[in-house]
Symmetry: C2
Subunit: 241 residues, 2 copies
């Protein structure tokens, strides 16, 4: 599984997310700085279950998650649904909407959250003046493509145990990168949502978690996860990284 958006240097410029200094060049002029701040000044709270956007809505802005947890999902006309990602603070969503000037998926808050809205026209305008910001935006989009390739590999060639191990390790790493425990965390999503993301049924997710617990790899109780044997969990995915 990819580690997209986990590099702190790749987070969007957003002073109020404490991220500006992580990704911006030192040679910015004062006015550019102010405009960048202005670009990231629109904040909005979301309650659990609220939609940030829905498929089909016109595209106006990208969104940086300041706090909270989101999922993105694609709904097929025949009722099928596919969760395409779970997003944490510091990650950007809405990139899929650029292609057609309309959102192609839904974004739903999985817990009370706060987002930072970034009007895309202005972001493009500013990135024409700031090559570093421009390159940064391209990297963000490219990261998303690489992340999706990782999920395609997961869905296309891994078995249930491997998928779930990869999923948990990915969460672990992203929590860790944000200063939280890599071994003990709270799942914000249901078994059904995990299953949709991993191409499995919720019963299979539940069974596989129980199976991991039986073998001493981790403890699960509802949405609380404690990884007991990170190395052995990694060996499931065939990666030592």
């Amino acid at each position: 599984m990819q580690t997209a958006s986990d590099n702190p240097c790749l987070r969007i410029a957003c002073s109020s997310c404490n991220l500006r200094e992580l990704c911006l060049p030192v040679d910015l002029q004062g006015s550019a700085l102010h405009r960048l701040d202005a670009l990231t000044s629109i904040k909005r709270p979301f309650r659990r279950g609220e939609y940030l956007y829905r498929s089909g809505e016109p595209f106006r802005a990208l969104y940086a998650i300041r706090t909270g947890f989101f999922k993105t999902q694609v709904l097929h006309e025949n009722g099928r649904e596919q969760v395409t990602g779970f997003q944490m603070p510091g990650e950007i969503i809405g990139l899929d909407a650029i292609s057609s000037d309309a959102h192609s998926c839904d974004a739903v808050a999985l817990e009370d959250s706060e987002i930072c809205e970034i009007p895309f026209d202005q972001l493009e305008e500013l990135s024409r003046e700031l090559p570093t910001l421009q390159r940064y935006l391209h990297k963000i989009m490219s990261r998303e493509i690489v992340r999706d390739h990782g999920i395609m590999m997961l869905l296309g060639s891994m078995r249930a145990e491997e998928r779930l191990a990869a999923f948990l390790l990915n969460l672990s790493q992203r929590f860790s990168a944000r200063g939280y425990s890599p071994s003990s965390f709270h799942l914000r999503m249901t078994r059904q949502e995990i299953g949709s993301y991993l191409g499995l049924k919720l019963e299979t997710v539940s069974r596989t978690l129980s199976h991991f617990q039986d073998h001493g790899l981790l403890n699960v109780r509802l949405r609380e996860v404690e990884i007991m044997d990170m190395l052995r969990l990694r060996s499931f995915v065939g990666t030592t990284a």
Copy 2:
């Protein structure tokens, strides 16, 4: 399955690919035009089986396919492989490399081909001056993300028959958009490559194709495909589009 890169207006500016006039604004100054032409002037032929780039190589350029057929694949350390896409003339590859300044997958010619190399530094520079080009580049990247989401849905929630039907319909549409027959075409890839792309074993691909043929949906003989009942094939995927 997504129709990424099939909109002629979204193809890269590349005069020698006859695409410049399809996507460029009328208000370009002469010098900008010349620079754009210069940007897309590097051409290179490839023989079947040759690598355009390999995972790990430094990132320098994007590539527009002029003629031929490519596949991109991710290789996992434990020998697993995942084909992430099949690319036809007018489509751009290499976007995944922007994120880390190194290619994250391999690109291999599936038949003798010609590509157009687009140095990325220069593309970024020019796109800072030409907002239309800038937006175009962003749309290209966003399309790739939307396309990947479509494949995730396919891999995550469709059965073998649906996956293969979606795959064939996608090829059909892309051939059609390029002026070829939508119902009769030549597959450039092996059953194994189709299987890797669709998350199936090659025997399952072969069996499912035979199954389609038995039911009068299409005729297959090796790599020659003739779709006999497009509507019924569509009904497998649950889409009428």
